[in-house]
């Protein structure tokens, strides 16, 4: 029983943390361009300094 008193708040806290991170990601525009993110990985890094 006393184990639950520690574990349940931890479980809930982690869940809330995930939720908060999702909210942040959405506000930050992380989901704005999902297709673009998939494409960008294919772009070769060029020397931008030229």
């Amino acid at each position: 029983m006393s184990g639950l008193l520690v574990l349940i708040p931890i479980a809930l806290g982690l869940g809330l943390l995930g939720l908060a991170m999702f909210f942040w990601a959405m506000r930050d525009g992380q989901f704005e361009d999902l297709d673009g993110a998939a494409q960008r990985i294919l772009i070769d890094d060029e020397d931008e300094e030229e």
């Binding site: 869940g15 989901f31 060029e46």
Partner: protein, 707 residues
């Protein structure tokens, strides 16, 4: 990389942002090319591509204007248009709100399930009560937050004495929560928090998918909308020109119209001569030669110029505005269309609610106490809550719409798919719909040398004929010759020097019929003719429609001869010289005979017919009005997406009906358990998630279908 320019910009003034739509980007290479290419240009600080929306956001110094940016992108090989706000409005907010609600419901569902599993597997006494209390603490705010969409919509429906899918959903969720709170206080019986929140999660998943699909297709359509005639260059008193928005134009102003420009207002030509492309306005495929004194209408596109046009009627008085008014009236009938989910809920809601009432009365008569009877009635409502029903429609439609996007068709919403599945006759506009709507150069009279010279000249001009010629030559693999000193004389054409010989590309001297250009290399003269060709797969597409029992016919505003030629080539009946009013009248006539018409058209003159038809599709090259009036937009040069839209929509509706069938079967199995008072929260949870997953799985079959 742009440090030196940035320094200079700071002295000039602050940087400004411009957003451009670039429909042509297709791959990672395009992203890199655009971002790096633009960043190298003096005055541009940074460019960021949004690939999903096919947009570029450019941060640049105010010394550059939109025209410079469009030109810069054209040099990189991309057609671009500066973007005003999306005229279709943004659904972004709605889908974001739904995603947030979904995330909260998901969080709540998982945590409550964690506690519920312990209760199901035998936790008793204080532990069980503690877990119920914890569940209640999580569930109440989650239901309040995530359920708002459903409660608000159900409340709206009830207030107007109607019912929709959200009414039984809301009642089910609220009763399940209410009963569970009571049981938690009482410290006995079952708590259904997990069912209530799981129900919200699955339903929100359906809604969020639906909203994402709409946002995605609308962004795609927004990217296609051209900036046709939204502004005009107006001649000032000092002889300079300034850019004025269409709605601010006043009668009496003088617009300067160059080749390629769309007219923003009706007017009379004051100075200059040229030819106008009226195909958007009337369906007429041949250009109309105009000169001083000719009356011109907004929506026409200048093929040659320059011309000065005195405005006689602006914004609300133009021919276009009259068509817009017709469209508003024509669109009324479509807004009365009831979607299949709402039709189903009209049968469903009264059925389950009376079933719950009967259960209550039955158990009362059988001698159970009112409390036990009430618990059983609520259990019936919870178990019949239309989880699978709520997913039946959106799941199938989202999958279908995704499959259609891959084939070049953007469907605006689910209602459009439902209506597309019902059509039984198709009416096509000719110019720009069955045909490509742009002049195609006939390259056969040109030799290799002439092709190279023609390309060198044509690629430097923005004239529609030059562009079409350059595109045709490039796609043939022609390389441009080394032509020097190329100069463009407005209204005359292009001239230059090639290996010491003067060369030119321009308007033919004599008035040839149709569209043509004259290529001169020294003394040699060649006439290049242009014609508006049929889409390559037009015949196959119409045949595929006929296969599905849909007969096609042509309804065009173009001349009799031009329409007949196309009608003969495609072997379908045709009507020529139809005005927007005539098109509308024919549609009304067909409707009164009980036929459901699919209208496919691109011109401004097709707008009212597109809005009035049972379902409508416009090509991506269509006028803004048509794209907004249409239910779906197809991109590319093929007509086949139109035929595919029908077959996919029908298959989608077949799956939707199967889904409803599955939901009904599920209820037939589950309801007796509820009536017999042997439903536990565990059974409810299994039944609900099981039926939802079956429905989603069935819908996913749509993605695997091949033509």
């Amino acid at each position: 990389m742009t440090a030196p320019f940035r320094q200079q910009d700071l002295e000039d003034s602050a940087l400004v942002d411009t957003r451009l739509t670039v429909p042509g980007m297709r791959c990672a290479g395009c992203i890199a090319k655009i971002e790096r290419g633009l960043a190298e240009i003096e005055g541009i600080d940074a460019a960021r591509v949004n690939f999903s929306a096919k947009r570029v956001a450019v941060r640049h110094s105010p010394r550059l204007d939109q025209g410079d940016l469009v030109e810069a992108l054209r040099h990189l090989g991309f057609e671009a248009q500066a973007l005003a706000e999306n005229p279709l409005g943004s659904n972004d907010k709605e889908s974001r709100a739904l995603l947030r609600a979904l995330a909260v419901a998901g969080f709540g569902m998982m945590n409550i399930m964690l506690l519920s599993v312990s209760v199901w597997s035998g936790a008793g006494g204080v532990t069980r009560d503690l877990f119920h209390w914890l569940s209640a603490i999580i569930a109440l705010p989650v239901v309040a937050y995530s359920g708002r969409t459903f409660f608000a919509s159900a409340w709206m429906a009830l207030r107007y004495g109607r019912t929709n899918m959200d009414v039984p959903i809301s009642i089910g969720v609220l009763l399940a929560t209410g009963l569970s709170v009571y049981e938690t206080f009482a410290g006995e019986g079952h708590a259904y928090f997990d069912s209530a929140v799981m129900l919200l999660f699955f339903l929100l998943a359906g809604r969020a998918l639906d909203a994402t699909m709409r946002t995605k297709t609308r962004a795609g359509i927004g990217a296609l909308l051209s900036k046709m005639g939204k502004s005009a260059r107006v001649l000032g008193p000092d002889g300079g020109t300034s850019e004025i928005k269409a709605e601010n134009l006043q009668p009496g102003m003088v617009m300067v119209v160059a080749s390629g420009d769309a007219l923003a207002a009706d007017g009379v030509i004051e100075k200059g001569r040229g030819s106008l492309d009226n195909s958007m306005l009337t369906g007429e495929s041949d250009p109309e030669p105009v000169e001083t004194g000719s009356v011109v209408h907004a929506g026409a596109i200048a093929l040659s110029g320059p011309m000065e046009v005195r405005v006689t009627a602006a914004s609300s008085d133009t021919v276009i505005a009259e068509i817009a008014r017709l469209m508003d009236e024509a669109g009324q009938s479509r807004s009365r269309y009831t979607r299949i989910a709402d039709r189903a809920s009209r049968l469903y809601a009264p059925a389950v609610h009376s079933l719950a009432l009967l259960a209550f009365l039955g158990w009362m008569l059988a001698g159970a106490g009112w409390y036990q009877s009430l618990v059983i009635a609520i259990a019936v409502l919870i178990i019949t809550c239309p989880c699978a029903m709520g997913l039946a429609v959106p799941a199938a439609q989202v999958v279908t719409s995704g499959a259609l996007i891959k084939r070049g068709l953007l469907v605006k919403d689910g209602s459009a798919l439902e209506r597309l599945a019902e059509v039984d006759i198709a009416i096509f506009d000719k110019t720009g719909t069955l045909t490509l709507g742009e002049p195609q150069a006939d390259l056969s009279p040109l030799g290799e040398k002439q092709r190279q010279v023609a390309l060198a000249l044509a690629q430097t001009s923005r004239h529609p004929l030059s562009r079409s010629l350059a595109d045709a030559l490039k796609s043939e693999g022609t390389r441009p010759a080394q032509v020097e000193d190329i100069a463009e004389v407005e209204g005359q054409g292009l001239a230059g020097t090639w290996q010491g010989t003067p060369v030119s590309l321009g308007r033919p001297d004599e008035e040839t019929t149709g569209m043509a250009s004259l290529l001169r290399i020294g003394p040699e003269e060649t006439i290049i003719t242009f014609a508006d060709g049929l889409r390559a797969d037009a015949k196959e597409a119409l045949a595929k429609l006929a296969e599905q029992g849909i007969l096609s016919r042509i309804l065009s505003g173009d001349r009799q001869g031009a329409v007949e030629a196309v009608a003969k080539a495609l072997d379908v009946p045709a009507t020529a010289l139809a005005k927007p009013q005539d098109k509308l009248a024919l549609l009304e006539d067909l409707r009164s005979k009980g036929q459901k018409v699919l209208m496919v058209g691109d011109g401004i003159n097709d707008g009212p017919a597109l809005a009035a038809a049972h379902a409508s599709i416009a090509p991506g090259t269509a006028s803004d009005v048509s794209q907004q009036a249409a239910d779906a937009v197809f991109t590319g040069k093929a007509l086949m997406p139109v035929a595919l839209a029908i077959s996919h929509a029908r298959r989608c509706m077949a799956i939707v009906r199967q889904n409803f069938g599955l939901a009904v079967v599920y209820n037939i199995c589950a309801v007796p358990l509820a009536l017999a008072a042997i439903v536990t929260p565990l059974i409810a949870a299994i039944a609900m998630s099981g039926s939802s997953l079956i429905v989603v799985g069935n819908s996913l079959r749509l993605a695997r279908v091949k033509e």
